[in-house]
Symmetry: C2
Subunit: 253 residues, 2 copies
Amino acid sequence: VSGISRRDFVGAASAVGAGAALACVRGVHPAVAPAVGGAGNVPNKATVLFQGDSITDAGRDRDTADANVAWALGLGYPLLVASGLLQAYPDRGLRILNRGISGNKVPDLEARWDKDTIALAPDVVSVLVGVNDYWHTRTHGYAGTAEDYERQYGALLDETRRRLPLVRLVVLEPFVLKTGNVDATWWPAFDARRAAAARVAERAGATYVTLQRELEAAANRGGGPAYWLVDGVHPTPAAHALIAERWRTVVGW
Amino acid sequence: VSGISRRDFVGAASAVGAGAALACVRGVHPAVAPAVGGAGNVPNKATVLFQGDSITDAGRDRDTADANVAWALGLGYPLLVASGLLQAYPDRGLRILNRGISGNKVPDLEARWDKDTIALAPDVVSVLVGVNDYWHTRTHGYAGTAEDYERQYGALLDETRRRLPLVRLVVLEPFVLKTGNVDATWWPAFDARRAAAARVAERAGATYVTLQRELEAAANRGGGPAYWLVDGVHPTPAAHALIAERWRTVVGW
């Protein structure tokens, strides 16, 4: 918690938040061709919410509720996606939020879903959750099975769809690489979670962003597993960039 | 200083640093085509150092000296450039560092240049400095003129070239937009600093990344000035993405 220096960086910018998001409604010209995706897919004034565990949290400042603020978005893929979208579509009035919390499993998301998701009235809900649903069975005495994960996750997305009928759901595939905290004994149990996430996404009509095979391919291409996932679980900046690129490609924005 | 939640995000990743940078030396396959630039331009094991003021600092954790670590890179364009380069060139063993400090003017960089630049033996030194060299004449009683800025900045780059003969220098154009702290009385004085930075870059044989006209064009295209520079000086995530994209395009990486 100590050590982050904000000083006048924060001081100068602390009045932004919703103000900056509102400012862009003034834009009158269509966005130029973006690096990824197409402007035609991006609705006006959409609120995009990133939900999940530490990978999404990525050190964000949980005391800042405003959209589009760097320190509230954290140091991971939500900031990278947000920076790119806000650059590409300045006339759209996008509001981008991160409510990921380290250590969360599906039941933890469920417990705070009303406050941290539904109440924010998002147009897009992007969820990455699952690694702790397995990991904590090894380290924290958590008793949830792959079936529990699938059922709970499915119910969470069903509830989201019921309460936000027009929401676009994005489900990110949980991933690990064999290094650090992750050894061969994670398989095949972890694969069962990945397969469950894919089924949950399909049943919920969610856009599914595969990541496991892409990260394996990246690690084979260069750097090895720890270059991409420090401890087998947590992405480095390189992997956050890969996740962000995958998000924009698959979502089509 | 309060409020950034790191928890297991940091805990899990704190052992990385140079280890992750070294890990990628193991890569054997050439990088696939990157989003920007060309792999042929990126040398092996290059150390890239970002220097400057709050725009570069961007809330980085100054207690972490390691390369390629998200919280040590901050929330701005250095993190965005680093994430993109580390994704694109996993076989290059790049080491990316940020030593920007909020509030710095050229004399402040000079005072810490030995320790924070020369001693790190960078292969690329990227500098963005100048807005405080003018701003602080208005707000802090600083007496430096445009001529002082040009002479001091030129001397700093000359010294860098002398002590690191093979270094590649990158100079980013200082920029402001008319909003927040920046009103019409900044002109023409601020233009004199921009013109000085361009001459300094040329004399030093530096790669010069123009940003003023690009940010003006972006603000006209959508969002208005405060969407890009919150207070006329400090970039939003959208503007950090623009700066990062410009950096990669002009540097050619």
